[in-house]
């Protein structure tokens, strides 16, 4: 377990920058095929460390597919074929000697629909730790508490840690999923529309949480909600039908995009 506690890097409020300071996730001419159809077309983009990057775009533009390339969740679909390379911290994650399990330990994921296991709240958070070999009870308990506190859920559930996670509200369940993802201390958290099934209040809590988590984790979030992207992300990538149209500081994308298509989308003229 490596503890990551670096000071917060000011990004969005530090004014526009051409590219993230430290390249962390490098996607190099990545194409993805579902059978014969090409879902991602030659995408190259570099994402920075400990920043929030938002993927936006209309439905079916490939943003979720790209997100799933980052922890190789697409491997589970038989008909998927991938060209190009994805490097995280300089390592090609599609290389022949890559252990997918180790990769997914470092690249956590939160899904659109909250999906806590039908186990107790405690067991949900502890599951990942147990998977990766943590057996010591006090160590587990400490890690569970820390993760729940970090995901702003601790105060609500500390008295019923051992009751079923399915008894929580939708927003609480989603925060539990975030706690579960951060419990194993990944370096990157992928979020696939984490708030799209939640009410505005719960959404606001998740957004606060994301801003808080940015201190410790690199976050890539797919969202349909453009206000959300504008509120929480430092960088934004706009996709359209499998292509990366534009990638820049969020402020620039939303105020002064370089491409006409981007402008049309963010101003709500299509999509």
């Amino acid at each position: 377990m490596t503890e990551i506690s670096l000071p917060r890097i000011a990004v969005a409020d530090a004014g526009p920058k051409a590219a993230p300071s430290a390249p962390f996730i490098e996607i190099e001419s990545l194409s993805l095929f579902y059978g014969a159809s090409k879902a991602l077309k030659n995408i190259s983009v570099t994402l920075g460390e400990k920043v929030v990057t938002a993927f936006i775009g209309p439905s079916g533009c490939g943003k979720s597919t790209l997100l799933r390339c980052l922890n190789r969740m697409n491997d589970l679909i038989d008909s998927v074929r991938i060209d190009g390379a994805v490097k995280i911290g300089g390592h090609d994650i599609y290389g022949p000697d890559v252990d997918v399990i180790e990769l997914r330990k470092r690249v956590g994921m939160v899904f659109q629909k909250s999906n806590p296991f039908p186990k107790s709240i405690y067991e949900n958070v502890a599951y990942g730790l147990r998977l990766h070999g943590v057996k010591n009870k006090s160590e587990l308990a400490a890690a569970v508490e820390k993760s729940l506190q970090q995901s702003a859920l601790w105060d609500e559930v500390k008295d019923r840690l051992h009751s079923s996670a399915l008894g929580l509200s939708g927003g609480q369940q989603q925060r539990l999923c975030i706690a579960r993802a951060i419990a194993i201390r990944p370096e990157i958290i992928l979020m696939d529309e984490p708030a799209s099934a939640l009410d505005p209040l719960a959404t606001a809590r998740i957004e606060e949480l994301i801003l808080e988590l940015k201190k410790d984790f690199t976050i890539v979030i797919v969202t349909h909600n453009m206000q959300q992207a504008a509120r929480i992300s430092d960088f934004t990538a706009f996709f359209y039908i499998g292509e990366l149209i534009e990638f820049d500081h969020t402020a620039k994308i939303f105020t002064n995009p370089a491409k006409k298509q981007t402008e049309d989308y963010v101003t709500g003229r299509f999509g």
Binding site: N71, M73, L76, D78, I101, E102, L103, R104, K105, G108, M109, F111, K113, N115, P116, F117, P118, K119, Y127, G128, L131, H132, S163, S164, A165, L166, G167, L168, C177, R180, A181, I184
Partner: protein, 395 residues
């Protein structure tokens, strides 16, 4: 007020809403028809139970008697006894008794005396010949019969002295069913996990129907196979003495039960939301860990239901056990022969005298089997609901 109400009713666009159930007569008819059909199913099960219970009732009330030697009333002393006593002595119903005149009754009493005189000398003085072996203590407890050195549990429903101890049958049923389940549940659930979680889709499409095809094999064929092939192979492998025993029957039974357990367990495992699998995989679990630690616990109510259904099928399976082993030996050893309750009923019902003690006891066995299955299903249902509520966070 009423007039305004009328007004609303006449509004053309709202006419239909006041027509009630007559609005769609065909649907109404179909609904009632389906209701009647489902009701008749329930009724039929109920009637079967009533029938079985009614035939078995005399045993429960102690109205059956198998005593070979009984006190006789000489026909000459007929008048010394009350009509009620005579009726009981001649084993007649009140109606039958009323319909008979004195001469007929006398003839019957003569027959009774003759029957007693016909009893072989060797039994006349036997202690056992005076027992009513359908009393509960002979049905459930060991008894030291004549020529036996110690009290024993014996099911031997033919011969002069009928021995109806049902314990060997229960032990036999239990032995065979448990062996069958111990063999079938791990295999079937393992196969279900493999097919639903680990196998490649193309392989799954071949495996699933193939295993389910097993359920189409008539149990007589399974029994035949077990009798001729499995019994020999298993005896060679394990080297036990009795070739046809509870172990062979249990394994053969397992083959009949596997497809049922597999099919239901596989459905339960497949219906676990993919979101759970995805979450576990995204946490870095292997496919095997996901299947074992996440999917199986989430599907446990369904898998348990599969096992309960398998139990029901196993305890009710007759033919395989009948073919493979059928000696009613009282023994807990799985390598001894055994006879299950259903086998006993199937094999002996045809030769039991209608309405006689043997016939009644067989029906009582049926009723007990009915009750056992019912109770096991109830317990199964209860446990499944507990599991489900626990999983869903309701307490």
């Amino acid at each position: 007020m009423p007039s305004s109400h009328k007004e609303t009713r006449r509004t053309p666009g709202w006419m239909g809403i006041h027509r009630g159930h007559k609005a769609r007569p065909l649907e109404w008819l179909a609904e009632k028809f389906i209701f009647l059909v489902s009701l008749s199913t329930i009724l039929m099960v109920f009637l079967i139970f009533i029938f079985v219970a009614r035939e078995a009732l005399p045993v429960f009330f102690g109205q059956t008697d198998t005593a070979l030697v009984s006190a006789v009333i000489p026909p000459a002393e007929m008048d010394k006894h009350s009509p009620a006593e005579l009726q009981k002595y001649l084993e007649l119903t009140p109606e039958q008794f009323k319909a008979m005149d004195k001469d007929t009754l006398k003839t019957l009493m003569d027959v009774k005396v003759e029957a007693q005189n016909d009893i072989p000398e060797s039994f006349r003085n036997s202690r056992d010949a005076r027992l009513n072996t359908t009393e509960w203590r002979y049905l459930l407890l060991p008894h030291q019969w004549d020529d036996y050195k110690k009290p024993e549990y014996i099911w031997q429903p033919v011969g002069q002295i009928k021995k109806f101890n049902i314990i060997p049958l229960f032990v036999g049923t239990l032995k065979i069913t448990l062996i069958g389940l111990l063999f079938a549940v791990p295999l079937a659930v393992g196969a279900a996990i493999y097919v639903s979680q680990l196998a490649r889709p193309r392989f799954r499409e071949i495996l699933k129907p193939t295993i389910e095809l097993l359920s189409g094999i008539p149990s007589v064929v399974v029994g035949f196979f077990a009798l001729l092939v499995m019994a020999t192979v298993l005896q060679k492998t394990f080297g036990y003495e009795t070739r046809l025993n509870a172990f062979v029957a249990g394994i053969a039974l397992g083959f009949a039960v596997i497809p049922i357990i597999f099919s239901i367990a596989e459905d339960a495992l497949t219906s676990v939301p993919r979101a759970y699998t995805q979450a576990a995989l995204a946490l870095g679990a292997s496919r095997w860990q996901t299947a074992w630690q996440i999917v199986l616990p989430a599907a446990l109510p369904g898998v348990f239901a599969a096992a309960v259904l398998g139990f029901g099928r196993a305890i009710g399976e007759t033919m395989i056990v009948l073919m493979v082993c059928s000696a009613s030996v009282m023994s807990w050893s799985i390598f001894d022969s055994a006879r299950s309750i259903t086998t006993t009923i199937a094999a002996e019902m045809a030769e039991a005298v209608n309405g006689g003690p043997h016939y009644r006891i067989l029906f009582m066995l049926g009723a007990l089997l009915f009750a056992a299955t019912f109770v096991s299903n109830m317990i199964g249902d209860f446990v499944i609901h507990r599991f489900k509520n626990k999983l869903e966070g309701k307490r």
